[in-house]
Symmetry: C4
Subunit: 298 residues, 4 copies
């Protein structure tokens, strides 16, 4: 749950804000950010998260690993200890710890501790896990940062509001890449690298998104023609989601309601926000305010 | 014809909704989606289409084909049987079967059956057709899904409304890639891979659409200069169709008419959609609807 | 001069419409498109232009050239004869032929005839000119098509209106690619392919425009870091011209004047189109119509 | 400080405009552009800057360097002399030279002189510095041009206004590339070129920004699947900043305030900029200017 900045008892609906005492003091520091201690805790935790991720990244570079493996190991222990303390403290000071443990944040926090504890508790399994996979698990700690960026929630909502449009667009893209990918598989064939339909689809995606790795390229004239069509199509298609999003942002800023402003008399739609009367039947349109609550669903 | 969701007799204008009896019951299940049976039929058919496409995709992968060829053959027979039943049922329950057979959906449905029936009816021809082409024919089944996404119709209409703008833009792009492609063919020449003008045009398209495969690259200084100009041009040109589409979406959402809203008294233009009075002379503006029929031509 | 579609004597301001007789009849066919003969001439000419370009394109393909060189030569003679007739007819039927000859269209038309006439008049020179350059000259015939697409004029005007913004943007891009290109030249050096600053600039352009050919790639860690910064910068920078163009199109459609709507009393700007009174000093704003002529300059 | 075009004494707040005499005359030429001498000075300086940069660029090309090294050396001395004169003149004619020396423009001007003076003053150090680094220092002279493009200031302000949105977006992108980059490092591994997590992150950036160099490509099926997801994600994500910027430009041009225009009577929001009366309760809306000061914070 994103950090709150006021200590209203009603704000914490999810995990349960304790009433008093040591638990309440701990809660205001960990989950809220309006006290000096709370903000300090935040900054410290963000610093630990970033440092922890940096250590994993540096540790993956063979040259750096060769020189500082021991230091990184010690740092890793410190980070794990800190994150364990944080996790235990969170569990201890909320009134519904199980709810926290099951939430997305709770799971991320647990994953962050996993690598080191697997090493302690199940050394046999740890030895079998590829060190790269362990690095991946440690990298997931970066997801703990999402708790501190309130805008992700707004962004998520904006995307959720447009989800049907997005799904339709994605389905169209999938349709095109499947058909075009198979076409290239047929035209070029395994001799030129298109060994199966999934490979053709992979090529179609690199082309339509204009990434163009170049690991697979058409060699026949017909293949190059199909590729040209795909490139122009993908290039132009990018305009569509961009246009949708631009419109969303512009209209949000103008305070525009979605066009579902409907006349109650004749049920015609599309009336401008400032209109007082239905342009079709002359009846008085419902006031702006009343319709705002009905709208918002795209 | 996209699935309808109410059973109004007037809605089926295309293929002919039967009046009663077994045909009507079949029709409501296949072509309409407001009964439970109708929705179930939909879900089942979509599941079959996706499964069928998945089988073709997996079958194209040599390793998977080696292990499951027999299973895939059996599944292919099941899919063909199901699609045949569906096709026959559609033909049987509409009043104008010929019309269905000639429609886009009818042709897609028929193509979906083709590979297996060619194998049965004309085995000699089947043996000659490349297995990859047969896979392509089976992949076309994915087009049957377009019947279930109503928005494709709206998207198609939006594109049709802007078709002149799109054509002009495309003609401009073709002009540029032909001239620039030939320029690179002249400057770089066959020694660097630009063996003919079509190849130069193919390179120009990969560059202008910013795909940049890298299978052909300029090696001379002049070639690199021309390439730089093309890249900046293509990069900037993408802004144009994106801007057109953004404007379309924004104005659609605002319920905006094109700017030809004219005051009948003083003939001034540019009045906002919601305005009731001319901001120039104070006369009452004609109602929204009257002008809507004059506008809308792009 | 783009084809006109009415035969008003006032419309031809550029080349001089003849008064009567055979010249007038020829003029209405060649330069105007409201008679049946005029439209037929258009279609025929467009067909010839496209056919001529197609022949050049096919002729550049070694395999096709090997089989049809003679046919192409004959067709080339036919095209040259047709274009010569057209050029002479244009010169003959306008009243100011010198003006036509000096216009862009006149020069394009002349260039279209050049290759064959060089062959006739200066065979020595012709033998020295690379056949690829001659193909390029013939390809320029495609520019004759611009006479038939009226929208190019509108597009050109829109670009001219925004030219200062475009120049500023381009200068910013040049600044970035010069500095970043030199940086990569320093960091990666000739050993990795960055042999001079122009090469670095070329690489910077392929990266910033997201084309990414791959013929030059960073190999050092620092180089890859700089490249990452450039990619994110270029990716985000594309949003700017796209946003400018989107705004232009949206506001054009809404009949929005540029924000130079100024109050004559207090000289404050930015008044909305629909406002009657200056929101700063309360004075009455000049009517919409009067300001329309002052605006339009971006 | 960008060149001013009127000689109002109040305009020069930064460096101190002198009162009279030779210093004032020098100041009007160097820092102001409304006299003929001032404009001439500008053009001359811009010419020198561009020429100087061109010389550095050409000098980096081995073939050109071989032929003209001496000429370039002489030109470099001339440029350095000119820029030294300019720098000294600027310091001499402003009233607060220390302030100029510490400003961004002052530092750029000093850097522009550095290479040659290092050669004179510390020849030992100069011999050690890579000639390429010296070329980079000379290339920075191009930044002196920013003084002459007033729009950069406006662009900078627009970006500063949206900085929080930009930061949120960038943080999201970093999150994605770190996690996805590590994923590819795990899935593909060093055997396919992904030798460390930073390399994976570099690959993730080339893919998400659709640059797609091709120096690193996925070879496993799972890797190609992850790559496909990343490409579609990056392709779609580009729509977001583009949409934000488009909205900004559109609303700027419309003179649009953010949506907090509230009616003081009934507290309804979302009133169009030009509206005089609340569309909900009929009360007169507060004037435009009063609300402008409340708004503007993004």
């Amino acid at each position: 749950m994103p950090k709150t900045s006021t200590a209203q008892p009603t704000r914490d609906k999810t995990f349960g804000r304790p009433d008093a005492g040591f638990r309440l003091r701990m809660y205001t520091v960990i989950f809220e950010a309006d006290t000096r201690a709370g903000r300090l805790f935040d900054l410290l935790l963000i610093a630990f998260i970033l440092a922890s991720v940096a250590v994993v990244v540096l540790d993956s570079m063979a040259s750096v690993h060769a020189r500082h493996a021991a230091l990184f190991q010690v740092l890793e222990w410190i980070f794990t200890a800190a994150f364990t303390l944080e996790y235990v403290a969170r569990l201890a000071c909320v009134r519904r710890p199980a709810r926290y443990a099951r939430s997305a944040f709770g799971i991320i926090d647990l994953l962050a501790l996993l690598p080191t504890y697997i090493a302690i508790l199940v050394p046999g399994l740890y030895a079998l896990i590829d060190v790269r996979v362990l690095r991946l698990l440690r990298i997931f700690r970066i997801m703990k940062l999402t708790e501190y960026v309130a805008e992700y929630g707004a962004l998520g909502q904006a995307l959720a509001a447009s989800r049907r449009k997005i799904l339709v667009f994605m389905s169209f893209v999938m349709l095109v890449v499947v058909v075009m990918g198979t076409l290239m598989y047929v035209v070029e064939g395994p001799v030129h690298g298109y060994t199966s339909i999934p490979v053709g689809i992979y090529w179609a995606i690199t082309t339509m998104t204009t990434v163009g790795f170049g690991d697979l390229t058409p060699h026949t004239d017909l293949g190059r023609t199909i590729a040209s069509v795909m490139m122009l199509l993908g290039w132009g298609t990018l305009a569509v989601p961009t246009g949708i999003v631009s419109a969303e942002f512009t209209l949000q800023r103008q305070g525009h309601a979605p066009t579902t402003r409907t006349c109650h008399e004749c049920l015609s739609e599309g009336h401008a926000p400032g209109a007082l009367f239905c342009s079709d039947c002359g009846a008085r349109l419902p006031a702006w305010r009343h319709q705002a609550t009905e709208q918002g669903k795209t």
